[in-house]
């Protein structure tokens, strides 16, 4: 009896698996593929894992891609430098402390309110009123006042010259503008009543945790965008998103602001193979790296030789090819050479285990007969590496590096933790090595380098090196310098110091990937990596 039942169950299982196998095979040749994915009605439906959230651009909870569509800044950061946006032109005073902006005329907020000097002042004052939340952006500590000169002229007065002023004004937040009518209690820090910017898209509907719809702004000063409707649909990453893309219920995905893709590379390739989708990759946007704590005296990583040896022992090619499936490229320096001021000639340290062993040997870390771990004065060469437990790729990289280091006689203990607790370790200095990434194109090098001196960022990473004082002096100088050539040479010095000291061990360069309907053209990227210029897209 039991045998008979088992037979029936086994048979049913077989039939079902065959059914699945057969039909899986026939997906690609589906006849009603035509309507899937392709968008003829100038409408994109984007799958995102998070709701757009509070769109207040003077706080940090909202989705940056969505905020980038609705709000605009005074100036824009492009590949060719700073370009006008809401400000048509500007002048910088000789002492570098006063910036005068001439605003674009005839621009209106989505609620019909005029965009003028008064609105600029109100917005900047609202940001400055909540200064603590904006401590990361150095400009917020330099602004003394924002004054209205006439209806379309404002001046920004700084306490001291600060060269990245225009760069920081171009970021997606916080220095962007919303209708003063949306303010509560005359400000924005306690929440706002609406989300009216001046940007190419208007937020027309938002159902929390379901979707948000943006429609082309018919009165946009740059001309109404051709892509008429953009919907952000909240979908869990993985299978659900992939199935919805296959069916065409959503037709667009891109790398989110944590560098995570909603679907894996295999799924992306499958969609492209179906003939309905295209895959677009950006230039390198940031650098994924391992940060070494040079200031932890009792740790072997406080020695330059140990850090260099680790650098040599990482096989970046294999990581890029096998662990990351070619989505990211090998990085040999902290910033890739397309980052401003980062095209500096630095000593290349490739994958070379023999060289790594030699360096350790020279530094006195010797391997006794039969031992697996090197020692020096009786101390073992053992270090800890922390990785984000939510990132499968970081875990795989950590395991891979662990095995490489074992070969050169370094014992690497790998520990997975929540990103917040890793951030906490970075602040308190309680680590040997940890995974991190640079801030991204619009923020590199100035924001990442400013982080070298900030306790919550890389102070512990940089403070243990011999030339630390010199490094900090140069960092202070560089943001205040008004001369381009001086800046170039200062940045070159800064990058050379941290490179020679090997405190930031680069691994790969991250990119943004987009999966979009095949007939969408004009897909490009902004310098600010988290937003896409949808207004430039169109269908064929």
């Amino acid at each position: 009896m039991i045998v008979k039942k088992l037979k029936i169950v086994a048979l049913m299982f077989l039939v079902l698996s065959m059914l699945v196998a057969c039909s899986a095979h026939s997906t690609n040749s589906d006849s009603n593929n035509k309507k899937r994915g392709a968008s003829n009605n100038r409408e994109l439906v984007i799958a995102t894992t998070k709701d757009i959230n509070d769109m207040n651009p003077h706080l940090y909870a909202g989705s940056m891609p969505a905020q980038g569509m609705v709000y605009e800044s005074l100036v824009e950061n492009t590949k060719d430098g700073i370009k006008p946006l809401l400000a048509e032109s500007w002048e910088i005073s000789k002492d570098g402390k006063v910036y005068t902006f001439h605003l674009r005329k005839g621009v209106k907020f989505h609620d019909g309110e005029p965009f003028n000097a008064e609105a600029v002042k109100k917005n900047i004052d609202a940001v400055q009123n909540n200064a603590e939340k904006h401590a990361w952006i150095k400009l917020s500590t330099k602004i003394v006042s924002c004054n209205v000169i006439d209806e379309y002229t404002v001046e920004l007065v700084l306490s001291e010259p600060y060269y990245p002023t225009l760069l920081e004004l171009s970021l997606t937040r916080p220095y962007v503008f919303m209708s003063p009518k949306d303010f509560t209690n005359g400000g924005t820090k306690d929440g706002v009543k609406g989300y009216h910017g001046t940007g190419p898209y208007v937020l027309t509907e938002h159902k929390v945790d379901q979707y948000a719809t943006f429609e082309a702004n018919p009165n946009y000063w740059g001309g109404s965008p051709k892509m008429k409707k953009i919907t952000f649909k909240v979908l869990p990453a993985g299978e659900t998103t992939f199935l919805a893309l296959q069916k065409g219920e959503v037709n667009f995905v891109f790398t989110d602001d944590r560098g995570v893709d909603s679907i894996d590379i295999e799924a992306m390739n499958q969609l492209v193979d179906s003939g309905n989708y295209q895959l677009v990759k950006s230039e390198p946007m940031n650098t994924k790296m391992i940060v070494a704590n040079s200031s932890k005296v009792d740790s072997p990583v406080s020695e330059t030789a140990v850090r260099e040896a680790i650098w040599y022992a990482i096989d970046r090619k294999t990581i890029s090819k096998d662990i990351l499936n070619g989505t990211e490229t090998v990085a040999n320096t902290l910033f890739s050479s397309n980052v401003p001021y980062a095209d500096v000639d630095l000593k290349k340290r490739g994958y070379d285990l023999e060289k790594a062993k030699e360096i350790l040997e020279k530094a006195g870390w010797t391997l006794e007969k039969g031992a697996e771990v090197r020692t020096k004065d009786g101390k073992k060469l053992a270090v800890k590496l922390y990785y984000d437990s939510n990132s499968p790729s970081q875990k795989a990289e950590a395991e891979f590096i662990q095995s490489s280091l074992k070969e050169i006689g370094v014992k690497l203990e790998i520990i997975g933790e929540e990103s917040t607790s890793i951030a906490n370790r970075r602040t308190t200095g309680d680590y040997d090595l940890l995974f991190n990434q640079t801030w991204g194109l619009a923020y590199d090098p100035q924001s990442t380098i400013a982080g070298f001196t900030s306790e919550s960022a890389y102070l512990h990473t940089t403070s243990g090196i011999a030339e630390a004082d010199e490094l900090y002096k140069k960092i202070k100088e560089v943001t205040g310098s008004t001369d381009e050539e001086t800046r170039k040479s200062l940045y070159a010095d800064i990058l050379t110091i941290v490179h020679d000291e090997a405190v930031f061990i680069p691994i790969t360069n991250g990119r943004i990937t987009i999966v979009a309907p095949k007939n969408v053209k004009g897909i490009s990227f902004k310098q600010t990596q988290f937003e896409l210029p949808f207004e430039q897209m169109d269908v064929e």
């Binding site: 039909s23 509070d54 940090y60 939340k133 945790d209 199935l243």
Partner: protein, 310 residues
């Protein structure tokens, strides 16, 4: 009966208090400073000491643990669960709509599960040992053991993508209910119809059935009697099933992007939005206590013998 109900309800109050306290304790066991969690949750790029102090004062986190618990408890009794760490909106405004959506899914699923279980259970019991009984049991066993997320993906792929009949996700029309309800029903009806079946089988062999048959009572009438008696067991099990389904929709909601409590709780856990997690645990606990009490009361109403126990 009235006093029994009163007693039963009074017993559940300390239970809820204990649960609420434990939830609060566990939340506070997290090694991280709550103020830091809040700021990380709000996406603040750089956290300074002043900002931490300011946030602590704003959220009342500088008060001692017990004081915070009582503040929270009193507020909860007035249905004020605080504000979300991430968005700053009242928790109730987020959990309320999500709870309704989950409830809709749960109610529809429960109705389908109950109808299916009773139907299959009774049919299988009355046809015990036949090919119908065996194949229903075999097939349901097979389906019920499939992991729900896998079954869900398979069904979405087949019915939504391949056949293009239903939406893959969301909650847009009645069509959106079909797949998630089917997955939940397959998983639970597969278990619960066995309960009905064995209960009916037990009663089939009772003396009163034999007696009724001997007296020539029509078979249909006998079946009705058996049903009434055997459903008593089923009622309490179904009552317990509803909160279980309510809690276990997490997986289903995530696969189908259903905007309910499950999706909300997972997101809140990932972003450490403690006020929402606390409210979620409390609501689920309350649902368990409520339905447990309800099942006891219904059983007591159907069977007076049980009322003396308490």
């Amino acid at each position: 009966m009235g006093s029994y109900m009163m007693k039963r309800i009074l017993v559940s109050i300390p239970l809820l208090l204990i649960i609420s306290f434990l939830t609060f304790v566990f939340m506070n066991l997290s090694p991280q400073d709550p103020a830091e969690v809040v700021l990380h949750a709000q996406g603040v790029p750089k956290i300074t000491d002043e900002l931490m102090t300011q946030t602590k004062a704003e959220l009342g986190l500088d008060k001692p643990f017990i004081v915070r618990y009582f503040d929270w408890l009193v507020a909860c009794l007035q249905l004020d669960f605080g504000n979300s760490y991430v968005t700053g909106q009242p928790v109730w405004s987020l959990i309320g709509p999500a709870f309704l959506n989950t409830l809709k899914l749960t109610v529809v699923s429960s109705v389908v599960i109950i109808i299916l279980s009773i139907l299959l259970g009774v049919v299988c019991a009355l046809r015990e040992g036949t090919i119908i009984d065996q194949s229903v049991r075999g097939f349901s066993f097979f389906l019920a053991t499939m992991p729900p997320y896998w079954l869900a993906s398979l069904m979405i792929w087949y019915f939504a993508v391949k056949l293009d009949l239903l939406p893959t996700n969301g909650m847009d029309s009645y069509k959106s209910y079909i797949l998630p309800v089917a997955v939940i029903a397959i998983n639970y009806a597969g278990i619960y119809f066995r309960v009905v079946r064995s209960s009916v089988l037990n009663h089939l062999n009772e003396d009163y059935v034999l007696y009724a048959r001997a007296c020539g009572v029509p078979e249909r009438k006998i079946t009705m009697h058996i049903l009434r008696n055997s459903l008593q067991v089923a009622v309490s099990i179904f009552c317990m099933a509803i909160p279980i389904i309510l809690g276990s929709t997490v997986v289903i909601e995530n696969v189908f992007a259903w905007p309910g409590l499950g999706s909300l709780s997972v997101r809140s856990i990932l972003s450490r939005d403690f006020p929402i997690i606390q409210a979620y645990v409390l609501i689920l606990a309350a649902a368990f206590v409520l339905f447990n009490t309800l099942s006891d009361i219904i059983n007591a109403a159907m069977n007076p013998k049980l009322r003396k126990g308490l």
